[in-house]
């Protein structure tokens, strides 16, 4: 069954059961994020939820692993930490941190 989602402001047809990573790769995208310090392009690396390279914003909630989340009809997917050239200008406001609750734990060191 086909579903409709929005990726970076554009409507996209997808199949029910596809992960967001699957949808993005099917569109021919290989990267949609930039690394924090040096701005290197990031997309899928491990594909099983381990590396966190593929993070996207889903319905305003950031830091969602695209490879672990199935696309649901009506989902809005935006890109986070994207370089200016990675997206249309109209989307610049959309990918901001609207959830107000980023992951904690990045400095946990037992």
């Amino acid at each position: 069954m086909s579903i409709r989602i929005e990726v970076d402001g554009q409507p996209v047809e997808a199949e029910e059961g596809q992960t967001i990573a699957g949808v993005l790769l099917s569109q021919g995208r290989v990267s949609w994020r930039r690394s924090a310090k040096t701005g290197k392009a990031r997309g899928i690396f491990c594909g099983i939820g381990v590396c966190f390279d593929c993070l996207v914003v889903v319905n305003g909630l950031r830091d969602v692993r695209a490879c672990q989340r199935r696309a649901a009809d009506g989902d809005r997917v935006d890109f986070q930490e994207a370089a200016a050239g990675d997206r249309g200008e109209s989307q610049e406001a959309a990918a901001g941190d609207q959830s107000g609750n980023r992951f904690q734990g990045s400095d946990v060191d037992a």
Partner: protein
């Protein structure tokens, strides 16, 4: 009736849950994704089910039998175990958030089991090389997961490289999803391979099913004329914003590139894996003793913590047959029964297989010589090998913790899962580290949003 909680719905966890259930235990199986099967039996979701699913799997019927039998057991899918609280003399309390991965306002559940089986499996280890962070460079498991779970090929012209027999099913999956596989490069050379697979070959006959599975993959290589070359590695990937070509090099027996043997080939994707790392954070948080990242168990699969059992890749990388045998033993023991004899015999056979695997394909230290100072090691925090080496030399420290805090290597959002082992090996001087293994310590096992944490009620106990 004892309550047995099993964490992980892959082969080991499924086998454990069923074995405990059949012996009268009340069983809860917790699985992080939305279906059981693990990485080995990863498949299309029900919404996209196809009739040809079995063509991408080995032992698909065996999986169907397991899944049908699990109908009588409570299976908590989308269950993310984020922490365990140790309790004296008995298994830890298990905290789970149930809902979509990285979601919010998920349902919090807590279990206080009489016995706990930890079967969280493993993820791949990819050794860093210059350009390994370019998009288009994937782990072999990513190619496998995207083929099996999405029916997407990661590229049109794909090179597969690394070490171990796991590279072969990845080739088969790539071919079945329409990719051309330019070749397979196995880092281990003929001498290393012979040491593992060539000694006492009659003993391998017992692991016959494994041989048949591998023979199928080798037939695929031959039919599609995919060259398989040993003693070779991808030592660099090139491109701007995506991989366009790779440099391959011949390796000596220590996995150091041999000067003058470089060649460059054009690819649009490369899949690289050098073995597996157990997903041990929950076992470590529960207090289970581990040796070199492998959880210690006795003949009943019992860990060093009373009532906590472990099975599958967590107790040694050995593949599906070993995982099924260990899972069955762990489940039986968790319910209070002795190891089933057939499972115990299978465990012995496939542990021998696992030992050979490590001898034949285990990582050799020469890889560090293809990591130049500009090579990124920690992908999350953008830390290079040069920064790690310079900090280790400048401070003279043998403490991993201080190296991590100074460079931030391993402190990013993946929590050192991807780079941890490499950081430890690059940072260790001749005297070794004082706190080796620390990169696997993650008391919070999966990311939790602060809002979810804040809304958890205090436990009444």
């Amino acid at each position: 009736m004892p309550e047995v909680v099993v964490i992980g719905g892959g082969p080991a966890g499924m086998a454990a849950a069923l074995a405990a259930h059949r012996r009268g235990a009340r069983v809860v199986l917790i699985e992080a994704s939305d279906d059981v099967g693990g990485q080995y039996w990863r498949h299309l979701p029900a919404a996209r089910a196809t009739a040809d699913e079995h063509e991408l799997h080995h032992g698909w019927n065996r999986f169907q039998t397991f899944r049908n039998a699990l109908r009588d057991i409570e299976v908590v899918c989308d269950g993310h175990v984020w922490s365990v609280d140790r309790r004296d003399g008995r298994p830890p309390r298990v905290h789970v958030l149930v809902g979509p991965a990285d979601g919010q306002r998920r349902e919090a559940r807590t279990f206080e089991p009489d016995a706990l089986v930890i079967a969280t499996g493993a993820h791949e280890r990819t050794l860093p090389f210059p350009g390994w962070d370019l998009p288009g460079v994937y782990t072999a498991g990513a190619a496998q997961a995207l083929a099996k779970g999405e029916r997407v090929a990661v590229g049109r012209n794909v090179l597969v490289a690394g070490s171990g027999p796991f590279l072969l099913p990845v080739v088969s999956s790539l071919i079945r999803t329409g990719a051309r596989v330019a070749g397979v490069l196995e880092a281990a050379g003929p001498v290393q391979l012979a040491r593992g697979w060539g000694s006492k070959p009659w003993r391998l006959a017992k692991a016959g099913a494994k041989g048949a599975e591998l023979a199928g993959y080798v037939r695929d290589l031959a039919r599609h004329r995919v060259p398989y070359r040993t003693g070779r590695a991808v030592v660099a990937a090139h491109g701007t914003d995506r991989v366009e070509s790779v440099t391959i090099s011949r390796l000596d027996g220590n996995w150091s590139p041999i000067p003058g043997t470089d060649s460059r080939i054009a690819v649009d994707a490369v899949c690289v894996s050098h073995g597996f790392v157990p997903r041990s954070e929950l076992a470590i948080a529960a207090g289970c003793r581990a040796t070199n990242g492998i959880v210690d168990v006795d003949g009943n699969q019992l860990t060093s913590v009373p009532g906590v059992f472990s099975a599958g890749e967590l107790t040694g990388i050995g593949g599906v047959d070993l995982a099924l045998a260990e899972g069955e033993i762990a489940g039986a023991a968790a319910a209070g029964y002795a190891p089933p004899p057939a499972a115990a015999r299978a465990r012995d056979t496939f542990r021998e297989f696992a030992k050979r695997l490590e001898t034949a394909h285990g990582i050799r230290p020469g890889w560090q010589s293809w990591v130049d100072d500009s090579t990124l090691v920690c992908r999350c925090e953008d830390v290079t090998a040069g920064e790690l080496r310079a900090t280790a030399a400048m401070t003279g420290t043998r403490g991993l913790r201080s190296l991590k805090l100074t460079t931030r290597a391993g402190l990013g959002i993946c929590q050192g899962r991807t780079c941890g082992r490499a950081v430890e090996e690059l940072a260790a001087g001749p005297a070794g580290l004082l706190d080796a293994g620390r990169t696997a310590h993650r008391p919070i096992a999966t990311p939790v949003r602060l809002g979810e944490l804040a809304s958890l009620r205090e436990d009444p106990s």
